[in-house]
């Protein structure tokens, strides 16, 4: 019952609890930054890389899906465009990596804004299936136009080092989370939340729904595109249509819902949980992992719409009440 005891402490002293959480976060980041210095185990580094990649994807999906309330099932399109941009500019055209990486975010954002104006005319579930259709059409088209395996050129492979990839992934995950953390303090984000709660009421109060949805989309696609750039930097060889596949949408959606949609911590906890469970079960059978997450997802939607984060706050709330 140690966890429960700590929880009740946190509940009893909200200020101290906050300080404790901050200390934990900083400690974790410190450990994360030092991992490559203390271990040479590639599997550990690769696993943590995946966690950071998924944190970025889930947290970026959450900006539009959780805060603006637009269930986007075409997130993979942004990820794929980012990967395609970086891969083409850096590995094929020979541009410096950093430039190609930033271009991934911008290309993805530009694409998102172009398709955002028409697709945001769709509301609710129509937006969801419209974006899914858009991403699938793009995936098939890319698969048709670029059917060949994309492999890193020899000189890059010769210099391939996991460490910068690890740190870039960590930095990107922190940037995404920090952006989400900074959001609630701004007027724009209040507007975005208002649009989520009631689009018509928001409009009546002078909040332009389209502008606010586009802003959320721009941020969301920027980080998803950068995540794609990271993917292109990390993977030695893959088919260009792979980053466009629906997995890159569905996995972050699952992670976000299970962790807690519309919260800062939810996508982070959810993504870490998702990858660690998958890694644990991959040894046995991959499909069991998907099965577990499918069931967890249904349970979350039906009885615990706030995911792990809500479960935690209910637990601490319960303990506070008992005292």
């Amino acid at each position: 019952m140690r966890a429960a005891a700590i929880a009740s402490r946190i509940a009893a002293y909200p200020r101290a609890g906050q300080a404790l959480i901050w200390a934990g976060v900083i400690g974790l980041l410190f450990v994360a930054a030092l991992v490559p210095q203390f271990t040479d185990r590639r599997d550990t580094i690769n696993l943590l890389f995946l966690v950071y990649l998924y944190v970025t994807l889930a947290a970026s999906w959450n900006i539009l899906g959780g805060y603006a309330g637009q269930v986007n099932l075409g997130h993979a399109a942004f990820f794929g465009i980012g990967a395609l941009t970086t891969r083409t500019l850096w590995a094929e055209e020979g541009f410096p990596f950093l430039l190609a990486f930033l271009a991934a975010g911008l290309a993805s954002m530009a694409f998102a804004l172009v398709i955002g104006v028409p697709t945001f005319r769709l509301r609710g579930v129509y937006f969801a299936i419209g974006t899914l259709a858009m991403a699938e059409a793009l995936r098939i088209t890319v698969g048709n136009l670029l059917p060949n395996l994309s492999a890193l050129p020899g000189p890059i492979i010769a210099r391939y080092d996991l460490e910068p990839r690890y740190y870039l992934a960590l930095a990107l995950a922190i940037c995404t989370a920090a952006t989400v953390y900074a959001l609630p303090a701004t007027r724009v984000s209040l507007g975005i939340l208002a649009v989520r709660e009631d689009e018509d009421a928001a409009q009546a109060s002078g909040v332009n729904p389209l502008t606010h949805k586009l802003l959320a989309l721009a941020l969301s696609s920027l980080f998803a595109g950068l995540a794609g750039g990271l993917f292109a930097y990390y993977h030695v060889s893959y088919y260009p249509s792979l980053p466009f596949s629906t997995t890159w949408t569905f996995d972050p959606v699952l992670a976000t819902f299970v962790g807690g949609i519309g919260t800062l911590a939810g996508p982070i906890i959810g993504a870490a949980f998702f990858i660690l469970v998958r890694e644990r079960l991959a040894v046995e059978l991959v499909e069991v992992h998907q099965l577990i997450f499918g069931v967890l997802f249904i349970i979350v939607v039906l009885v615990l719409p706030g995911g792990f984060v809500e479960a935690w706050s209910r637990l601490t709330g319960l303990l506070r009440f008992r005292r």
């Binding site: 269930v71 028409p118 697709t119 005319r121 769709l122 509301r123 609710g124 579930v125 129509y126 969801a128 299936i129 419209g130 899914l132 259709a133 858009m134 699938e136 059409a137 098939i140 088209t141 048709n144 629906t246 569905f250 959606v253 699952l254 819902f257 059978l285 499909e287 069991v288 998907q290 099965l291 997450f293 499918g294 069931v295 997802f297 249904i298 939607v301 039906l302």
Partner: protein, 292 residues
């Protein structure tokens, strides 16, 4: 110009379209009556395909005769799904209902797909009957028996559904509920019972579609999403809960895809439907399902 390949293509487009139609009708019925968007519909098609395959390989039952077993089996599965899951969302306000049903059925898609991999492996399965690959020829146009029978089954299923919905008391109750559930409930219709029935019927229709997929195409655990998208495209083309319309739109999509092969090449077949879908959604922002 030689018209023969064009006509042949159109004939195949008709066969494929009939299958699209029957796959979409179930989804349309469920959406129209319950305002529940079941994106696991394609997975139900997949399960119907496996049921047909299983009846054929284990017991040697002809896939078309096996419909007498697979359709009721899927009907029962529909009952179970409704009682276990969708019952909890049908009482929500309409917007929440659509959104939550989308999410739940998305989870279901994962569950069904991975359960199917566990049970039947990821290998491609197809039913090879003694008459598969055979057919008759009229003026150099080939009519394969399996595809022909598939179209006949699809038409028969639609006809039975139409008669049921327009001529029986229960069918009329389903239509009344789809038009206005509050008014229907005031007229003494048990709305929850109607929902259960409509959902199970939709699942049974997915089973029929699955049988036709198993005969004419291949079944793998992963086909769910593709069939859901296909059915969604057709339903959107047809317009809200229009059941007969969904069948017609299915044939329309089949023909559009067949013709697109000439314009863009075979590899863009799937894209044509998806682009058509997005365009139709955009021209009517409320969605073609939605009543203004």
């Amino acid at each position: 110009m030689n018209l023969e390949p064009v006509v042949q293509n159109l004939v195949f487009g008709l066969f494929v379209g009939g299958l699209y139609g029957i796959a979409a009708v179930g989804l349309s019925l469920v959406f129209g009556v319950m305002k529940v968007l079941n994106v696991a519909h394609g997975s139900l098609v997949m399960l119907g395909g496996y049921a047909t395959y299983w009846a054929f390989t284990s017991y040697g039952i002809d896939p078309f005769l096996a419909l007498a077993i697979t359709a009721p089996l899927l009907f029962l599965l529909g009952l179970a799904l409704n009682l276990g899951l969708f019952r909890f969302v049908t009482r929500l306000p309409e917007d929440d209902k659509i959104k939550n049903s989308l999410l739940i059925s998305f989870g279901l898609t994962l569950v069904f797909e991975n359960l199917a991999i566990r049970l039947w492996t990821a290998d491609e399965r197809a039913v090879q009957t003694s008459y598969s690959g055979e057919g008759f020829t009229v003026a150099d146009i080939v009519f394969p028996y399996t595809r022909m029978s598939g179209l006949v089954v699809a038409l028969a299923a639609i006809l039975i559904l139409h008669v049921f919905l327009t001529r029986t008391y229960t069918g009329k109750a389903i239509r009344a509920t789809s038009q206005d559930w509050e008014a229907a409930s005031l007229m003494g219709i048990d709305v929850q019972r109607t929902y259960v029935l409509a959902f199970a019927l939709g699942t049974a229709l997915a089973g029929v579609a699955g049988a036709l997929v198993a005969v004419g195409y291949t079944v793998t655990p992963a086909i769910g999403l593709a069939w859901t998208l296909k059915a969604l495209v057709v339903v959107v083309l047809a317009g809200m809960g229009s059941i007969m319309g969904a069948f017609g739109a299915g044939i329309l999509l089949g023909e559009a895809e067949a013709l697109s092969v000439y314009a863009f090449g075979a590899s863009y077949r799937e894209v044509v439907g998806l682009v058509l879908f997005i365009l139709v959604l955009l021209v009517r922002p409320q969605g073609l399902f939605g009543r203004r």
